[in-house]
Amino acid sequence: MTPLNTLALIEFAPGPDLFPLLAALLATATCGLLGNFLVLRQQSLMGDAISHAVLPGLVIAFIITSSRNPLLMFGGAAIAGLVTVVLIEAVKKLGRVEPGAAMGVVFSIMFALGVLLIEQAAARSVELHADCVLYGQLETLAWFTAPPTLLGVFQLTPAEFFAAVPRQVWTLAVMAALALGFVLFFFKELRIAAFDPGLATAQGISAGLMHYLLMAFVAAATVAAFEAVGSILVIAMLIAPAATARLLTDRLAPQITVSLLAAAVAATLGYLAATTIPLQLHALGVLPSVINGNSVNAAGSITVVAGLLVAAAALLSPSHGLIARSLRRKHLGRTAAVDDLLTTLYRFHELNQPNPPATDLPTPALKTATRNNWIEPTPNSVTLTDAGLVRAAALLRKHRLWEDYLVTDAGLLPDHVHDAAEQFEHLRLEPTSSATTDPHGKPIPQRPN
């Protein structure tokens, strides 16, 4: 068992896990922050394209310098990322190719080039240990000499602590700070370019420049995060937190806040799940004995948690969630049923006819109307109360005004308008008209005083 897993996380002593967790948090926060603008501009897949296409950049930097100097690799990958962005734009504009296809063409060719170059490099005995660069092994950042408790961490001198921080964490921290500065500084420009590029240009803010700046940051963040967390996590974090927030909020600033929260939750839960769940399952004897591992790929697990957060938001969001919307639809349906019941009774009332027997009327609507004191049940039937009469008259007024509108203003034939008016009467809108009778000659009830 590695120290990573022997650690009881419940006792809140992060120890070795401190740095991997920190790296995950920084990477997810950076990507989550930038992702907000990608999702709004419908360019979410740029992260996907860039992270595939940086491969040749990494390999070429490696072949040329024959060293694994992270700065050079970073430079090579960043250049490849920007080249990808420019190429995609070129194929889109010059070749008039549809955006998705343009992206697919460019990144797959770049990726193929990378694959070929790796094979060539391998043959020239240049050993490319890019495995950890691209795979993103958070686990390798583990702090094996960590003090056993959190208290011990705090007792370290700053110098001792900083000396222990791995380079990848520094890279990510710098990247996170740069991305935050970029978004804060250009917030207004980014916002307007995301929602209305045309307006941005008209106001003297170059939407194209903002696009390239944003892409440069996405490319840099992608490359910076690679080494620590791997590219699936980067792609997921450029989309999932922003998508979660988009399903929960309607304004940009809250959206960004929620996305950062979602990113932090995904990173923490995902990392904890990866390092503890297999162990717990083994303890419970659920996992088959052939499986030995006590932890799984943390980047993958964070991605899955981020995906689950999106699914949860899609189902449970109070404003845009599937459940809330279906409840609202159901509520609307019930209101409409009660409305229809009241107008039906009013029509009998208008003609001085006896009300139909209660058995012919829909029961749930009857119950709701009774509860609201709009109708009074009588032994064999129901009658409208005074409140019910007022409400029904208002509804019928709306119905007949709509019929009048559809005939006089929209030019429909009188025998074609009832069904449409039957729908419109449930809206809040009421046409303004001084008509006193509807196209069928029936009186339009007066507006109640």
């Binding site: 070749g95 998705g100 989309i239």
Partner: protein, 473 residues
């Protein structure tokens, strides 16, 4: 991807590959070129049973991917295959886990491909669910599905890697084809899937085209659009799954997109597009695996994709109507024509005022300054005019021919007509005219000129003696 270095698609090495000299030591970098007879053997399918089978099946895969790719491109779903291909990973891992735990051979190809199909389809359905039920757009839905499914796959693979029985490295290299070889059996399976996809696409050509071009009309006309869409997506699934083994999970996307996009540069007709994309896809599959079989260290998937990349670049540059070169030539010719018109208009006005007298150098210089022509543009304009027999310049003078003068008169007349029209009908102040008029006078067709004349005539303006309205050219 995070698995990039393990996702190197398999080199189609088989018994037919053995003539290659693999580097004997790490410092051995000598590449041995294949002899002509070896090359010919491979290209003519005589290089041994395995190599030949592999060559045929990648060619068939290329044809199938080219055809299906056309429809996903036209339906604007090119990147759906991206989501789908990534979504196959958890299926492969789960199939392996399930088969191993049930004491089957976890590495049997049909089992793994079945698993890939299941999660691939789930991925497509997830994208459609997100699009239908949330406010997320297509790009976000596709990106979410591909990364989350792939992440789940990574989790499962890391679990498999710790298994006692399952050779984990074996599995990941089997999926990505690092060391495993494509056996003739596997190649035949792949070829079978590809042929089935081609036949299905041929049978459904009409339905697919209809849905691609106008799905609303198709729906109104009573076609089951969602069923047709589903069929189209399942063909994409089959091709992707078939391609997983040969070219790897990421590069199979390229086989679905690039041939179709390349073919799109050459034609506007769907049947031709399908045939062309099939040909390009097939050619890439054939050349890719042939090169891979002949040269050392050329992974087939990458070579196939790079071959199609070359064809794409070629198409984008030189295709006759949509290519970049053709478009730039058209634009250059148009601009030169417009520039020549300006010179001819000047000549017409000069000759009208002073019959027979040539256009003087200072007048031409003035025009050049006004239009901002450099020496190169001036040269090209003169060439343009000379070629068309509209005039010639000598010693700084410009002498138009009769045809040149007539063209100058037409341009001048169009200019005035359009000015009149704008003042009479479009309510543009005379002092604001010249700028817009300048743009349009060169492109007025004969029909429009007739219409303008008629419109002005009915309004009591004699277009045959147009007065110069405001600033004239």
């Amino acid at each position: 991807m995070s698995f990039s270095l393990t996702t190197i698609p398999l080199t189609l090495a088989g018994p037919g590959h053995s003539h290659n000299h693999a580097p004997t030591s790490l410092t051995d970098t000598t590449d041995t070129w294949p002899t002509w007879s070896e090359t010919l053997n491979v290209l003519t399918l005589q290089a041994g049973y395995n190599t030949t089978t592999v060559l045929i099946s990648t060619t068939l895969l290329g044809v199938a991917a080219g055809i299906i790719g056309v429809f996903t491109l036209l339906r604007k779903r090119a990147l759906m295959s991206d989501a789908l291909a990534h979504a196959t990973l958890p299926g492969i891992a789960l199939a392996f886990l399930a088969a191993t735990l049930l004491d089957f051979n976890g590495r049997s190809l049909p089992v793994l491909l079945a698993g890939a199909t299941v999660t691939g389809v789930l991925g497509v359905l997830a994208v459609q669910w997100l699009l239908r039920h949330t406010r997320l757009r297509e790009d976000a839905a596709i990106g979410l599905v591909l990364s989350v499914f792939f992440g789940a796959g990574a989790v499962l693979l890391s679990l498999i890697q710790t298994m006692q029985t399952g050779n984990a490295a074996g599995l990941s290299s089997f999926i990505y084809g690092k060391t495993a070889t494509l056996s003739a059996d596997d190649a035949r399976l792949m070829a079978g899937i590809a042929v089935a996809a081609v036949i299905a696409a041929a049978l459904l050509l009409k339905e697919f085209s209809l849905v691609c071009f106008n799905d609303a009309f198709a729906k109104v006309d009573g076609w089951p659009v969602s069923v047709i869409d589903l069929l189209m997506m399942s063909l994409v699934v089959f091709v992707t799954v078939a391609g997983l083994q040969a070219v790897g999970l990421i590069l199979v996307i390229a086989m679905l997109i690039i041939p179709a996009v390349s073919a799109r540069f050459w034609t506007q007709r769907v049947v031709l597009l399908v045939v062309l994309a099939a040909a390009i896809g097939g050619l890439c599959g054939y050349l890719g695996s042939a090169i891979s079989a002949l040269l050392p260290r050329q992974p087939a998937g990458a070579v196939i994709v790079l071959t199609s990349g070359v064809i794409f670049l070629f198409s984008m540059l030189v295709a006759p109507s949509r290519g970049i070169l053709a478009a730039s030539l058209r634009r250059l010719r148009l601009n030169l024509g417009i520039a020549a018109d300006h010179l001819l208009e000047l000549a017409y006005l000069t000759y009208r005022d002073r019959p027979g007298g040539p256009v003087h150098a200072d007048a031409i210089d003035q025009l050049k300054r006004k239009r901002g022509w450099g020496p190169l543009v001036s040269l090209l304009v003169n060439l343009h005019i000379k070629q068309r027999g509209l005039g010639r310049s000598s010693d700084g003078y410009f002498v138009p021919t009769a045809a040149g003068l007539e063209r100058g008169r037409q341009v001048c007349r169009n200019h005035r007509l359009w000015e009149q029209y704008l003042v009479s009908y479009a309510d543009i102040a005379p002092s604001h005219l010249d700028w817009t008029v300048d743009q349009v006078e060169h492109v007025l067709s004969g029909e429009i000129v007739l219409e303008l004349e008629a419109a002005l005539e009915t309004n009591g303006i004699d277009p045959h003696k147009p007065k110069a309205a405001g600033v004239s050219a």
